[in-house]
């Protein structure tokens, strides 16, 4: 048991580190480092432009989408190399945030199901950040129950006509393309009547409206489709095979291992080192110590669990199911930590003006953003079901929608 790189890994790490030191946008380091949860701080620079600049530079040097084949703009690197890159890229990795969905989910789906011409034409620009992609999956009536989606696609000649609404689409407002899952046959069972496409987000009839979140930001959008036309050549997979195609996409939703998941622990630990309570440093208060210890055990457990996954990759194996716990643990933990950190600071901590509040109002930012973590990309309840069924092998819930034609499933309206 050791934490050392193999010779090959060490060599790759050196190469990556050297290039990053020579090319990273150092002038953004301070701003990026001071980003609070749910936001990316690029100082005076436009975030999207800053992100595209760094991505372009990486692509030109062969450091974009490391796992992809070279002909699609990647490096054909191994999973462990991609992990090492993430570790070395460090804070600059935040700049990749707006490409994660496109490169992490849309890309692999295109690679698996798009035609060769489309792949060669579109994937390199996705890899280089020249074009941004989004994923049009969730709907107002289809969140946890994604297969309950209703957006219709009807075949007219060589084209499909799309009508309906998507929601929770990250980055739709600055996306060039999107992958879209639709219902093409409502008369068969829900998982059978879906079909996947990709489309130009500037197609006529696409209407994008930002959703304002509790924390005041608008990272998500509603996307309306009014007789939007998509050529059949942009269909991904067979008609009616959309659910299977979507699983390819969602399989890649697994958070990028190596980049560590935010828990709020380091922030709390730094706070209590100096914050005074009852005439002493908070870290010396036994109630604080007890909480700190329990949360450290969780944070450390997540870090060590990730290390086990990385070892598996390093051995060329697939990581075990224990990785499914990350978001479930981190989401609730961050929410509790934010509440606790503010409680220790008293009434003054209601102020969330970054100029006044402690650490750029980092805990207030967590308080207002963390509820979303427990919902987006699988609610706590869905994640527990997944662990119970897929990891522990417990029986599935009773299904009211099993084998029922989609248009006869009770929907409450």
């Amino acid at each position: 048991m050791d934490f050392n790189d193999t010779a090959a890994e060490a060599e790759f790490r050196t190469e990556a580190r050297t290039w990053i030191q020579a090319n990273a946008p150092r002038h953004l380091f301070a701003a990026l480092s001071s980003s609070t949860f749910g936001g990316m701080n690029t100082g005076d620079e436009d975030p999207l432009q800053a992100a595209k600049n760094w991505q372009k530079k990486k692509a030109e040097a062969g450091w974009a989408c490391l796992l992809w084949p070279k002909e699609y703009g990647g490096r054909a690197a191994t999973p462990i190399q991609s992990v090492i890159w993430n570790q070395e890229e460090g804070v600059y990795g935040k700049l990749g945030g707006m490409f994660i969905i496109g490169q992490g989910m849309c890309g692999p789906t295109m690679m698996a199901f798009a035609g060769e011409d489309h792949k060669r034409r579109l994937l390199p620009k996705l890899a280089s950040g020249e074009e941004v992609w989004c994923q049009l999956f969730s709907e107002p009536q289809a969140g946890s129950d994604l297969a309950g989606l209703r957006t219709r696609a009807e075949k007219v000649g060589d084209e499909w006509v799309i009508n309906g609404q998507k929601i929770w689409t990250s980055g739709a407002q600055y996306s060039d393309y999107g992958i879209l899952i639709t219902r093409t046959d409502p008369t068969v069972a829900k998982h059978k009547g879906m079909t996947m496409f990709f489309l130009d987000m500037r197609s006529p009839g696409v209407d994008i409206r930002p959703i304002k979140q509790v924390n005041g930001q608008s990272g998500f959008n509603e996307v309306y489709f009014d007789n939007v036309r998509i050529p059949d050549s942009q269909r991904l997979g067979a008609v009616g095979d959309g659910w299977r195609v979507s699983l390819t996409t969602l399989m890649n939703e697994r958070l990028a291992i190596g980049g560590s998941i935010a828990t709020g622990f380091p922030e709390l630990n730094s706070l209590v080192q100096s914050l005074p309570i009852s005439r002493d440093k908070a870290v010396n208060d036994s109630a604080v110590r007890s909480r700190l210890a329990d949360w450290y055990c969780k944070a450390s457990g997540l870090r060590n669990t990730a290390a086990r996954a990385i070892s598996a990759l390093s051995r060329g194996e697939t990581p075990g199911p224990e990785n499914s716990i990350g978001k479930l643990v981190a989401g609730g933990m961050m929410q509790d930590i934010a509440k606790y950190a503010m409680d220790l600071q008293g009434f003054g901590s209601v102020v969330n003006d970054p100029v006044i509040a402690e650490g750029n109002a980092r805990f207030q930012a967590m308080l207002l953003r963390s509820p979303a973590v427990r919902i987006e990309g699988g609610t706590d309840q869905i994640l527990r079901n997944i662990i119970a069924e897929r990891v522990l092998g417990l029986p599935e819930d009773m299904r009211a929608d099993k084998g029922v034609p989609f248009n006869r499933i009770p929907s409450g309206n």
């Binding site: 009536q141 509790v214 409680d343 009434f347 209601v350 102020v351 969330n352 509820p371 706590d380 929907s411």
Partner: protein, 369 residues
């Protein structure tokens, strides 16, 4: 034993509820949330006209003398509508301070205006981002002149006068200050709950008058004020918690997933059952604290801390898990879930955080309880 509110007290609650149903819907709250109004003046006027601002003030001082039990139910009703008014600052804090410690002259001059709402009061204590500690107050009063800064004052941008904790020659004291006086400058603050006005207040040689005559005991006086106010704040908290739970239950009954109402899944059912449990425990503790407040019982410090701690926990739990039940819609600006989430976290810190009140509770706990 008759451990419940009287019909008269419930009548006051129902009248308050009707007023707020008419005048304090989510649209009104959002006017303040989104900065189009500093507070809900219309609602405030309505509350004043009904005499609710004078609920617990003796008639001799212009109040309606309906008692603290009635005031508890008013607080609960205001909490359930996350009403954006300075009611808590003016009625639970400033008014209580005067009733407890004011000189006859001070009561005569201020209580009638507080009772009819022509004067809005506030309590200014916090000086930084740590829990209050009497020993290093930076606000000082010398020769009747107040100097210093209050870091954050609830309703500080609305209030006409404030009870200010400051260090005088005899030590910490509570001082009456006219917030329209020369030398007072106020800066509105952005907080986690924009529906409650919050301001930083700077005092540059502002004339300040000692509240009452007992100089140097500001911290003890503040403690007594806060014990009484904690009961009323706790009722606002359980009012909000009940509203958040009701909202969650209603949504879980109508929202379908997998061909079933989501409220039929035990994952959510049991979460809401736990919300109910936390709320009922807090509610019963609040009842007891209301009795202690109304009778000025010796148990008040313990009863108040118990109500405060359990109501804070219940409101934070219910407002948090109401968002969870709503899923994605729960953290949109459009849905009202965040109004309760914001208020629950604001109220949890006003008067001091959980750790402060847990400590007060144990201080008051008999060794055999």
């Amino acid at each position: 034993m008759n451990f419940d509110f009287s019909e008269d007290e419930k009548l006051v609650r129902d009248q308050t509820a009707r007023l707020l149903a008419d005048q304090c819907d989510a649209k009104v709250v959002r006017e303040v949330l989104e900065g189009r109004a500093v507070y809900a003046e219309g609602v405030w006027k309505g509350l004043c006209e009904m005499g609710l601002t004078g609920t617990a003030i003796p008639e001799a001082y212009g109040g309606v003398d309906a008692g603290y039990l009635a005031l508890c139910l008013v607080a609960q009703t205001l909490g359930s509508k996350v009403a954006p008014t300075p009611f808590s600052s003016s009625v639970y804090l400033a008014t209580e301070a005067l009733l407890l410690f004011g000189t006859e002259a001070q009561k005569q001059s201020l209580l009638p205006k507080l009772a009819n709402g022509t004067l809005i009061g506030a309590l200014a204590t916090t000086e930084d981002r740590t829990e209050l500690d009497g020993q290093d107050l930076k606000c000082t009063v010398k020769g009747g002149q107040l100097n210093g800064r209050k870091f954050a004052v609830a309703d500080g941008g609305i209030a006409d006068c404030a009870v200010v904790l400051a260090r005088g020659d005899a030590g910490p004291g509570l001082y009456l200050v006219d917030l329209h006086a020369a030398g007072v400058s106020r800066t509105r603050l952005e907080t986690v709950d924009p529906t409650r006005n919050t301001a930083r207040i700077d005092f540059a040689s502002v004339s300040a008058e000692l509240l009452g005559t007992d100089a140097g005991h500001g911290m003890q006086q503040l403690d007594r004020i806060q014990n009484r106010a904690a009961v009323l704040f706790a009722f606002e908290q359980i009012g909000g918690a009940q509203a958040a739970l009701d909202m969650a239950v209603a949504y879980a009954r109508e929202r379908f997933a997998f061909g079933r109402p989501i409220g039929s899944f035990q994952g959510l059912k049991h979460m809401m059952a736990d919300m109910y449990v936390a709320l009922k425990l807090a509610e019963s503790n609040c009842y007891y604290a209301a009795w202690a407040l109304a009778t000025d019982a010796a148990e008040l410090p313990l009863a108040a801390a118990t109500a405060r701690v359990s109501a804070t926990q219940a409101y934070q739990l219910c407002s948090r898990d109401n968002i969870q039940v709503h899923g994605g819609m729960g953290f949109t600006w459009e849905f009202d879930c965040h109004l309760y989430y914001r208020r629950s976290n604001y109220l949890a810190l006003e008067l001091g955080g959980l750790n402060v009140w847990e400590n007060k509770l144990v201080n008051a706990l008999p060794s055999a309880a």
